[in-house]
């Protein structure tokens, strides 16, 4: 059997043209997918039962016991942290936010360690963005700044930019120019018409210089800015102004390097300046397939897109204070629930040491680096393959994730609902 138009539950491109061949409730093959998505559809090996550490050893336990223990840990905590959320669907995230409110928790998502600065910048100066469909059909200039789509979002170029046919673009190869800006000559740089190599941490300075040039104030700009010659900047400023429709895509190269949200703000303000002369848009290359969705859900429910502190019974938001890395670094949380992400694999050492020192629970289908930090792990269905729901593509377009395999594993949403119910029972029973 073949199921068509399955969205890929891996990266923020959320490619929804995947064909999956199935036999007897097993995936035999996948078409249209990149290697990253392929690996997820065809992955093997998962945790079969909930596990708990008892006397220093992992033991298999029932779902009931694991949920009971999780509810007890979270109810006893004075500063519980609920972290992750980007690899699950909106329906589960909604229950997560209710849980956070119920227990006065801090709730934060992987946004905190990727495009948190993009959101801060957008909150300062707005977001001249558009959908990927607009870019595909109209953009004659595409700029990848501080990102490497070939390795991180492998189908971005073929579906939406360099190699994609556009309705208003006669010949995508000759009519669409690509500029890549990075600190090293990445794979993406090799297909660019113009490559700008910036000294690490120099993005802000280059963006300021371009803004001044677009305003016609080349006179104030020094001969070289962060390793980039003034002549090249002038050439690029001219290319930008000549474009009919320019689209900037940016990644962690500018959000997580020196300057952080100021880099993104400067990029947005460059785009705003260009919009006085032509049409330009700017978009973030979001990572997890539903990282954008959590920002949507938390904003509907609490007014802020990530890093919300419910401890005083209201929603308080202040990245730097209520963000996961800062909280763990200051050793504030006294319990932690991780879901739909793997902080153990990429957080700084001091922060995961604190996670290991407090009771930490993970909800995840597989054993991963975070398992080593946990007291309890509850396996669940794989979202987007064994569980359906709503996810948001990197440009904010909602897409329905499909269930293509039957499973006995409970979904993220079901487990979270059972934890909330158990906590309410515990409160009622004193």
């Amino acid at each position: 059997m073949e199921i068509r138009d399955v969205p890929c539950p891996f990266c923020g491109c959320l490619c929804d043209d995947i064909s999956v061949r199935l036999d007897d409730n097993r995936i035999l093959g996948v078409e249209n997918c990149c290697t990253l998505g392929n690996a997820k559809f065809l992955s093997k090996g998962r945790l079969q039962h909930p596990i708990m550490r008892k006397n220093g050893k992992w033991v298999e336990v029932s779902y009931e016991e694991a949920i009971d223990e999780t509810a007890r840990i979270l109810s006893d905590a004075v500063r519980p942290l609920l972290y992750g959320w980007s690899g699950t669907v909106g329906e589960a995230q909604v229950v997560g936010v209710h849980l956070g409110e119920e227990i006065g928790a801090l709730i934060d998502s992987t946004t905190s360690v990727c495009h948190n600065p993009s959101i801060l910048a957008i909150q300062e100066v707005g977001h001249p963005g558009c959908t990927l469909g607009q870019v595909k059909n109209r953009a004659d200039l595409v700029i990848y700044w501080g990102c490497n789509p070939i390795e991180a979002h492998p189908r971005h170029m073929s579906r939406y930019t360099t190699y994609a046919d556009g309705y208003f673009i006669d010949n995508t190869v000759t009519d669409r120019k690509v500029i890549v800006v990075d600190i090293r000559r990445s794979e993406g740089a090799k297909v660019a018409d113009e490559f700008i190599q910036i000294k690490p941490g120099g993005d802000y300075l280059v963006l300021s210089a371009l803004r001044a040039m677009v305003r016609g104030r080349d006179d104030v700009v020094p001969d070289s800015v962060a390793g980039v010659k003034k002549e090249q900047l002038q050439r690029v400023a001219s290319l930008m102004q000549k474009a009919k429709f320019g689209a900037v895509f940016f990644g962690l190269g500018i959000t997580m390097s020196r300057g952080k949200y100021k880099n993104v703000r400067n990029a947005i303000e460059l785009v705003s300046e260009l919009n006085r002369k032509t049409k330009f848009t700017i978009s973030a290359m979001r990572g997890h397939f539903n990282v954008y969705g959590f920002n949507e859900v938390l904003t509907w429910m609490a007014g802020y897109p990530f890093a919300v502190d419910f401890s005083r019974g209201i929603a308080f938001y202040n990245p730097g204070e209520t963000t996961v890395i800062d909280l763990l670094e200051r050793k504030e949380p006294d319990a932690c629930l991780v879901i739909a992400s793997d902080p153990g694999a990429h957080f700084p050492k001091s922060t995961i040491e604190h996670m290991a020192a407090i009771p930490t629970v993970q909800i995840d289908p597989c054993v991963n680096a975070t398992t080593a930090l946990c007291q309890v792990q509850i396996p669940v269905a794989i979202t987007g393959i064994e569980a359906a729901g709503t996810a948001y593509r990197m440009d904010g377009v909602p897409i329905r994730m499909k269930k293509i395999i039957e499973t006995n594993f409970p979904t993220d949403q079901e487990i979270l609902e059972r934890i909330v119910t158990r906590i309410r029972e515990m409160k009622r029973d004193g």
């Binding site: 004075v78 802000y204 104030r217 104030v220 204070e321």
Partner: protein
């Protein structure tokens, strides 16, 4: 009225205490002082010894002294409008948020957001201050609007971000992006600073040390004498159509 608050040692000293009620006004009005410790709300006396001596008939007669470990106590002096607060040790985030009058003196160091969005009054910090000293809030267009902040030590990143009024004097160095988006007021940095005044539109900033990695879109206006010293005078940020004044003793570009 003299109020002495002595924080006791706690089993878990890392849990923050939110203490926005610690203001001279609240004691003058004889309010019950409640604080948040994590997700629990408790009376201040559950965490600290409280001694109140004498009466106060006006806000100017209320002096608060904070002792013990107050390094995780946040929001002390929030919306303060008179009187004094003296902190013997370090103080947590958001000390003096939105204050409009009175004086806060910190004998130790201050965490982030010291004097956030303050409108009046004085803050003197003898140690260092964290990130966002005398700044604004996320997404806000205006940071500190009035009053004065003096830090004897150094400050972190994004000091005086969005500042639109008041005076700030930093004796030590700043981190990155001091005075970013500056819109008014006067900031004096006696030490070094880096990427200072990015995207400023108005206001005045002096850097007596070295301005490292200057934003490349400031217009050179010449050399001026200030305070008996020679400074390079820049105007900008041109990228932002800005007309702010930046005076630096020395500067470098990242070329």
């Amino acid at each position: 009225m003299n109020v002495t608050i002595t924080f006791r040692n706690r089993t878990n000293p890392f849990i923050p205490i939110e203490a926005e009620m610690i203001t001279p006004d609240a004691f003058l009005q004889d309010k019950e002082i409640l604080v948040g410790e994590g997700n629990r709300t408790v009376p201040l006396e559950a965490l600290a010894d409280l001694v109140i001596e004498g009466d106060g008939f006006s806000i100017e007669e209320v002096d608060i002294l904070i002792r013990g470990d107050s390094s995780r106590v946040k929001r002390v002096g929030e919306y303060m409008n008179g009187g004094t607060i003296t902190i013997e040790g370090d103080i947590g985030m958001h000390c003096g948020n939105f204050m409009s009058g009175g004086r806060i003196e910190i004998l130790g160091s201050a965490e982030g957001w010291l004097g956030r969005e303050m409108q009046g009054g004085e803050i003197l910090c003898h140690g260092d201050a964290g990130d966002y000293c005398a700044s604004g809030y996320r997404g806000g267009r205006r940071g500190m609007r009035g009053g004065s902040v003096e830090v004897i030590g150094s400050v972190g990143d994004f000091a005086c971000e969005h500042i639109s009024g008041g005076e700030v004097l930093i004796h030590g160095n700043t981190g990155d992006y001091a005075c970013a988006e500056m819109k008014g007021g006067t900031v004096t940095i006696l030490g070094d600073s880096s990427r200072v005044c990015a995207n400023m539109s108005a206001g005045t900033c002096y850097v007596y040390g070295s301005a490292e990695e200057m934003i490349p879109t400031f217009e050179k206006k010449g050399i001026v004498d200030h305070d008996g010293l020679l400074f390079h005078h820049f105007m900008g940020d041109v990228a932002n159509r800005g007309r702010g004044h930046l005076y630096v003793a020395r500067y470098t570009y990242l070329q």
